[in-house]
């Protein structure tokens, strides 16, 4: 499903920083992959390349056989609709209700009002927040906010979910709840790519782990543990 071929990313500026150095790997459909490494190891850069927030300096990134770097500006939105993104800081809109935060993702991709009224409660049910649909983000806990973000990422049924430190702002119990939710989504057939530096979580998931260090892949184990 995803293939990185000799991908290099250098941030040019005052000083040239090599963020990713000759990265190659393959992620199959319906896999659950944890991406681990210290801060600055290149995890976020790797994810940004996937949803085309950044372009690689060299190398190819294939998504269903298609090179992402070759997408035109007009095609990018359609590419992004194939990827659900979840972030450490949730990125919910504070002045919209939970329902509106999720329906937003459907509105921009042109779903009808009828579809939105059906899909949004369904997806909020899956993340266990259907009863708080009319609340605002500030009225619910961090763990719940992250669930809303996951609901928003899921609502147009993308084949891939990217989670960048989704538990970074959460306590251990909420964190594990979020991971369980991601595992459940994965079981339902969505590929999940999780970037984290939470050792405990990675060791509990017992799925494939790719370890990055200073922009290079130093380990790629199919039943991996967090080990740096």
């Amino acid at each position: 499903m995803i293939e990185f071929r000799n991908v290099k990313k250098i941030y040019t500026g005052g000083i040239n920083t090599v963020a990713l150095d000759d990265i190659s790997f393959v992620i199959e459909k319906e896999e659950f992959v944890s991406l681990v490494g210290h801060s600055g190891a290149g995890k976020s850069t790797l994810l940004k390349l996937l949803y085309a927030e950044e372009k690689p300096t060299s190398g190819e990134i294939l998504f269903n056989g298609e090179d992402i770097a070759k997408l035109t500006l007009g095609q990018l939105p359609y590419h992004r609709r194939r990827i659900g993104t979840v972030f450490q800081d949730f990125k919910l809109l504070p002045r919209k209700t939970l329902f509106e935060n999720v329906s937003f993702a459907l509105e921009v991709s042109g779903h009808s009002d009828k579809e939105i009224r059906e899909l949004v409660p369904q997806i909020l049910e899956i993340v266990g927040l259907a009863h708080k649909m009319e609340s605002y983000p500030r009225e619910i806990s961090g763990g719940e906010q992250q669930r809303v973000a996951i609901a928003r990422a899921l609502v147009h049924r993308p084949p891939l979910i990217i989670a960048d430190e989704p538990t970074g702002n959460l306590d251990p119990i909420s964190s594990w709840g979020i991971i369980q939710l991601l595992l459940k989504i994965n079981k339902l057939g969505t590929t999940v790519l999780l970037a984290t530096h939470n050792k405990e979580i990675v060791n509990r998931i017992k799925k494939r782990v790719i370890t990055l260090d200073q922009g290079k892949i130093i380990r790629d184990h199919s039943k991996g543990r967090y080990a740096i």
Partner: protein, 303 residues
């Protein structure tokens, strides 16, 4: 799909406008000020035109004929002059009519009337009064007449007398146009800069929303449209606000700019221009809002 997009983006733009009360107020006052400055310039140029036109109507050149020249020859001259494209009108004033007019003009001066009667014969010359299309054409017309086949029939052309008035009028006219154009350009530039910055602030307030829209795969037009609609709403409301202020202002100022023309005339003239001014306001306001929005939102849409 298109209608759905338009409806959603318009609603979203309107919501931005409504929920950011103070910001909307600030932007609208800035655009309104700009429009007020621009429309004041328009109004001033209309006022200048009214005054100039009223003076223009009083300017003409008269061609006086020698007394032995037959009427048919003068009528021939009149139709020849009317062929000039610079000439707007040419009135034939016969000896008798000239005398009648002279008598009316001097009705309260019995001395003059008596002396005319004493002469017995009509001492006045027949003439043709010529009005040009624009004041700068009098010179050409006068020269053309002096070089025509009629030059021996003409006793005098009073162009020289009017020359100074005509020239002064031309100067005033061209300098008001120049100053007006420079001022209008200058203020439009300032206005675009200010509006641009104001809308940038509103977009800055929505940067998080823009970021999320991009992440969930909103197309660029979809992200842009709410801000453009917001700009359109700002422009339209500002235009209406300015019209509410402008006409009472004109009513108040009319007596001062009227001068040679009557107050009623000035007001009637502006009412005549009401829809034109309103239309210009709406177009300029909406364009100002839209262009500023477009430029301001651009930098959030890279990649």
């Amino acid at each position: 799909m298109l209608i759905l997009t338009l409806r959603r983006t318009f609603t979203s733009g309107f919501t931005h406008f409504r929920r950011n009360g103070w910001l909307s107020f600030a932007v609208i006052s800035i655009i309104s000020l700009t429009l007020l400055i621009i429309s004041t310039l328009i109004v001033l140029s209309i006022a200048a035109n009214i005054i100039i036109r009223s003076v223009q109507d009083k300017v003409d050149i008269s061609v006086y004929f020698k007394s032995e020249v037959p009427e048919t020859r003068i009528i021939e001259f009149r139709s020849a002059v009317l062929q000039y494209k610079e000439v707007k009108s040419a009135d034939y004033i016969s000896k008798n009519r000239a005398l009648d007019e002279f008598k009316v003009k001097n009705a309260d001066n019995p001395m003059i009337l008596q002396s005319i009667d004493a002469i017995g014969d009509n001492p006045l010359n027949a003439s043709v009064n010529i009005k040009a299309v624009t004041p700068d054409k009098y010179e050409i017309i006068a020269t053309a007449i002096q070089n025509s086949t009629f030059k021996d029939d003409i006793s005098r052309i009073n162009y020289a007398k009017n020359k100074i008035v005509i020239e002064r009028l031309n100067n005033v006219l061209s300098s008001t146009r120049k100053v007006g154009a420079v001022l209008a350009t200058l203020f439009s530039l300032i206005a675009i800069l200010i509006t641009f910055n104001a809308i940038r602030i509103t977009i800055y307030a929505h940067r998080q929303e823009i970021e999320i829209m991009r992440l969930v795969g909103a197309s660029n037009p979809y992200i842009r449209l709410p801000f453009i609609f917001e700009g359109v709403i700002y422009g339209a409301i500002s235009a209406i606000v300015v019209m509410l202020f402008l006409f009472p202002l004109i009513r108040f100022a009319a007596p001062y700019i009227a001068g040679a023309v009557s107050v009623k005339d000035v007001q009637a003239n502006f009412l005549h221009y009401f829809w034109l001014i309103f239309f210009v306001q709406i177009v300029v306001g909406v364009a100002l809002g839209t262009i500023s929005s477009l430029i301001a939102v651009r930098r959030y849409l890279k990649i």
